[in-house]
Every structure is written in C-alpha cells, then in structure tokens.
Symmetry: C2
Subunit: 432 residues, 2 copies
Amino acid sequence: MNKKNVNLGIIGLGQIGSRLYKEVILKRKDIEVKTGKKINIIAISAKSIKKKRNFSFNRKIFFKNPLNISNNPKVDIIFELIGLPGGISKKIVETALKNKKHVITANKALIAKNGDYLSKLAEANKVNLEFEAAVGGGIPVLRTIKDGLITNKINKVVGILNGTCNYILTKMGSSKESFSNVLKKAQLLGYAEPRNPKFDLNGADTLAKVRILSALAFNKKISSNQCLMDGIENIELKDIEMADRLNFRIKLLGITELINNKLFERVHPCLIRKDKYIANINGAMNAVILNGKPVGQSVLQGEGAGPGPTSSALMSDLLSVLRGNIKYPFGLPHIKRKSIRNYDINLYSNSLYLRFEVNDRPGVLSSITKIFTKNKISIKNLIQNPNKLNNKASIVIITHANSEKNFKKLFVGLSKNKYVIKKPIFIRIEKN
Amino acid sequence: MNKKNVNLGIIGLGQIGSRLYKEVILKRKDIEVKTGKKINIIAISAKSIKKKRNFSFNRKIFFKNPLNISNNPKVDIIFELIGLPGGISKKIVETALKNKKHVITANKALIAKNGDYLSKLAEANKVNLEFEAAVGGGIPVLRTIKDGLITNKINKVVGILNGTCNYILTKMGSSKESFSNVLKKAQLLGYAEPRNPKFDLNGADTLAKVRILSALAFNKKISSNQCLMDGIENIELKDIEMADRLNFRIKLLGITELINNKLFERVHPCLIRKDKYIANINGAMNAVILNGKPVGQSVLQGEGAGPGPTSSALMSDLLSVLRGNIKYPFGLPHIKRKSIRNYDINLYSNSLYLRFEVNDRPGVLSSITKIFTKNKISIKNLIQNPNKLNNKASIVIITHANSEKNFKKLFVGLSKNKYVIKKPIFIRIEKN
C-alpha cells in the first residue's frame, strides 16, 4: 500500500465489530510506528444506528446501506463482520474487491462456500482478502500455514475448532449436568448463540473451518464434497461418564488429511485417551495440530472465540495489508490450486464406542452380540449397566477397528433388533 | 524484491546447512509458484571442501573464504549458519548487510549479542535480517509475535526452549539413569553437542533465546542485564524422583515478563505440577506460552531442534524475503525500540524445593530448621530419607513463598551448618 493515510470501513457492529472499532482507535499510534501508516475509520454500518453501544461515534460515518461503503471511493480497507455464508455478506465483499479495496473478514461460512471465487477476484484486482479470524479465533493458524510453515508438506491437520462444543463437553464432564442444561448456561455466558446454536452443535461451523484449513494446508481448491459430519447433540451425560470410566474424554474434532493423494475431511465427536494432548484442551479453548515435513508436529493452542481473540486476528490481517504483504489469499495463485478427489469414507477403519438402551430380558446379550458376529465386528469391551427399576439396561461396547461400511450394516442390524429401545449412540475412537 | 532471479549463498554446511541446501533444491518449483521467484544457490562455504557430504555440488560455487560470498555482487540473500556469537559470523552478516544483501541466520548467540546493531544496519541498508530459526526450532514463534499477534500487548512469555535439556530431564525420569549417563546418550543421538554441551546445559542457550523473545514481545532493545541463569548440571536422579513423588516434574524454563514496566528475564530449572501443560512437554520438544491482550493465552509447540525443523524455519524466512515482507527485524524501527530497566530480582518471591545431604546425627533436624526460622522462611513439607548404611540422610524441604533475598541468606546459613555435607540443591517452584 503506497499511501500514507489509509481509510477503513467496518461493516457489522456486533460484539466483534464493536471490539474491533475500539481496538483500532486504541492501537492507532502503535500501528503507525509498526507500519508507517495513519489509519482512520471513515465508515461504519450496522442494522441499527440507535442500538445502545459501549462506544460513541460520529453519526456522519454511519451508513445504513453497507454497499455504500463497498462503493465508497475513499475507503481503502473493508472489514466484513456480518457473517452470512452468502447474501449481503458476499455482495459486500464482492463489490469491495471489484472496487479494488482490500477485504478482511471473520466469516468462515462465506470463505468455505465462496472462498475460491472471492480469492480469484482479489487476485485479479490485486488486493488482499484476509480471513485469519475465520479459523481458530486468536490462534494465527492460517498465517502459520501460509508463512511460518510455508514450504512444509503438510499431510494432516487435527483441531478442536469450535469453542461452544468444547465448552459444553468439558462442562458436562465437570458439572455432571445434562446437555440441555449446559447448553443453556453456555448461551447465558455468551459461549453459544442465544437464538440458533445449531451450526455450532451439528458440526457445520467446524466443517467450514476444516475446509478452509484443507485448502491452505494442501494447496488445493476448497472442497465441497459431501463428507462425514456428526455433531454433539446426541451425546448424553452417561456417555461422558462412561468415557471417563474407560479413561477417555469426548471431544468434537475436525480432521483433514491426505490419504493416497485423496482428501479425507471429517467432523465428529471422538473418544480420545486422557493422556493425549488434545484430550486436555478444555473449556472454550481451541487447538490445532499440524503434521508437516520437514518440521514434524506443530501444535497451536489459544482462545478460539470471543471479541478479544477475534479482534487480535483481525488486527493481524490489517497490519499485514498495511505493510503491503500482498499475498495470495490461499498462499499460491488461484490457477495453481487444483481440485482434489475425495477419499472413499467406506474404506476408513477405526474403533467405535457404542451405547444402546435395551429391554433387559433373557437372551438380550446373545441376540445383540450375534449382530456383531454377523457383520464381522469383534468386541473389545462390553459393559452392561442394568437399571433394576424399569427392567432396562445400557450396554456399552468398544469394538476393534473395522470399516465404516461394516459399521453401517451393524447399525441397521442393531436398530432393527427387538431388544433395542432407542437409536444406538456411537462415537469414533481417535488414536491421535 | 524486484528481480525475478534470486541468488543465494549458504555459509556453513554442517547438519543444518546441508539440509537447507537440499531443501532449497527440492522446493525450487514450489517456491516459484508461491513467490514468482526463481532461486539459485550460487555460492557455498564451509571449513573444508573435502568433507564427506550426503549431497554433491558444483565445486565452482565453493568459496574457501566466506567473506567472498558477503562481498559477491551476484549474491542477493545470505544464510549464515556457522553460529558464533561474534567473530567470523558477525563479520559475514555485517559485510553482507552493508552490501545490501538480505541475511537469514539461525544464530541465536549472534542475535542476542549483536541483534540491535545488526538490525539497525539492516534497516539502514533497506534489507531484511531474519532469524526465525534462532528461537524454538520449527515453531514459528518470532513470526507469530511479529505478525499473528502483532497488535497484542504481551506481558509474559514462558518457554521450554532447549531440546537438549528437556530431553535429558525427560529421559532421566523415564529411564532412572544418572545425569551423566543420559548426557552421553543425548550426545550419541545428536541431541547434545558432542564436544562442548556446556552452553545448552548451563542455560546460556535458553537465555539467548529469552533475550530475543523479550525484545520482540515487548518492543524493546535486547537487554544485556545480568540476570538469573541456572542450568541443569546439578540436578540428580534423586531430585527427579522426589519431584515425581511430590507430583511435580522438573523442566528448564526460560521466562521473560514485564513487572511494573521493568524487565524480568530468567532461566532456571523449575518444579511444575504434573497437571500443568508445560510439565507435559517431553523429550526434545519445545513449547512457548504467550500472554497477550486482547488475545489471551497462546501456546505454540513443536520440535525445537534438528535439521528438519530448523530448515523449515530458514525456508519461511527465505520466502518472506522473496515475497518482500517484513521490513523491521524486530517488528518496529530501531529508533522506536527503547532500553528497559531491569526488575530487582531480590524482590521476586516464590517457593523453593531444597535438597541437602546431612550426617544423620541427633539434633540435625532442629539445627537445620532453626536456620529457616532465623531467615523467616516457613517450611511447607519436609521429607527425610535416612541411609542406614552410612549414617547419612537426604532432607528435602518445600518452602512457602519467600524472597530471593531471604533465600540467599538461607543458603549461606545452610552451607555453613556442620551437619550439611554438600552444597544444597535448590529448584524454584513455578506456579504457571
């Protein structure tokens, strides 16, 4: 960036946008020392000008229509902090890039869905599109892949990428409360969306982050393949307690890896042995493990969400733009990023934790274990917890490793079994 | 960097230099895709041209005198991989910078001692001086501070920064072998210098890294203050076993923090509770914990030494230079980096683990505990292990928190005590 005075526009003034506004003003001098640039916020936009905010602003810089900021010739850099996967968020970013404005966003849904198109647009217009805040909150994981580990051949990335889910799973374990009670607490504390926490809980948020990580780590296009995505909504306190008894913890992991040059992306709850690093990432923390050559294993850990960490990431993007560190949004030119074929999930083999509720009548165990034998799945552990009061029982089974394909058949068999009351719960066991 | 073809010189062809040479050749195409630059190694230098190496090179590019590379007008970027704190290493870097060549080095001793002078020189000549590989091996910690966390106000950095010491302490605990036996193994495995491991073991290597981290994290000049530095040479297997019994692990930590705007840098072995993150960094791994506002706590972990991780860091510096990124070696202009006053270590208060060998005669305990009372140091735990065979005993004491000043007086008192046979061992207890 050649000019000395740089003008910013901030679109979206929720928790993140408000904090960013204050950070920019607070750090103005520091930014000038580090980059030689004087920055000014000359445009802001939000749903309502009247909403009570914990900072004051000149009403002249408020724009009702955010596209008037994207089209404002005086604005050099735009922050898109609305967060929709398309719609007005996409329109704002698209318009800004076409008008040769740099764009910084925290919007993982937008990047996971439209990142290839938008990065091409940014490259064509010779401006930056930065989205460090989209993955891992305050953890500078995208920058680490694009810069710090740039020439490494990365083959696997494993992460706890959703603070809401990690908070809920941790809290269920420590407070012995049900999923729904803990979710309510998380919403009160601001860890979970008060209105619609679905995209956190069902794994969609983590999957969007995984897709961005895959594209960066493996230098490929963003995949849109259907892939394994399970959330944490069906996990009950009894699963967490049983996992604890068996020396495991339950975590929602996002995993992406290359297997024989095919892409295997997945998001699902995992049982992880307590002595593993990732099993000990608690509360709203995030963590990412990268396997690369020649660097070996790298781990990054930090606060995954909230206005503080997110604004830290947004500010790092801002300074990168101000210093003129113009890069390809995904680390290499759009044209060099190829599509990648999907790994056949049916080939994936792992061990499983299964829990199902049964009517505790004579013959139940033999009837159930027969289904395992029929599907060639061998049992490693079986724990039966009878409930004398209602003649029911919980059966927990840990299997030996087997393919997803065989497990699918197993579930069908189990669901049809006359003793089994509810749909069985299953959680994959992760060796990492 | 405006030119399309960029010429490199590599000075020093030990383990690191050799690996780098091969990495550069292996990644040439990838580098061109990511940066648009074609790179060529046009000059190398080492002690001997004849030494057996696991790669072949054109003898025409070998220079006996490395300064001929620093003075060669065709060379654009120089790697200094000799590693001396001054002498020829300094001369190579100095000459190269004056000749407007970018310099990349893994030399922590040089940067810790001459970094301010050299960074001023680099800025004056408008070239980069990069030293990511000097701290934390493959962990991109300097880049994370300079870029990823750039506008954060960092107030504390804690790290396991020396793989040799961490390997030795871990291995003593797992194999129940003595310090000297484990050191020999570490030397055989290449984890410790075969000839002179002193600078690893006495904490000097860690201190150099701490000084570089302080300068970057706090935006200050590199300190040259005398500061607390203890190594691991006096730690015996019985200390590691006793720590284990008390639910601690022993780690050599490097710590730098701002206390009331004064700088407190220290390197010493610490007892850390087993359930703490940093207590679980084992073997040759390194880890760094950064406390910043607004980001909160960030953790980075990875392989701390060896040709693979080090060349990963050197390559990240190379691509940063090729892309034209980062202008100030310490993140902001030399002139803006101020000196900082030192914290008075006598004010520092912590708990201590003490072990001393005594002649096990009547009155020994009362005689020793008196010295504690006299110095107003209260005892939290006392464990006496008598050795019936020789009428001697080990006494281990955990104190409540007290000042370094009072502890110094305590040591004088203990050393003079007639029952105490050897100089007492003490290890600070770290709460982090």
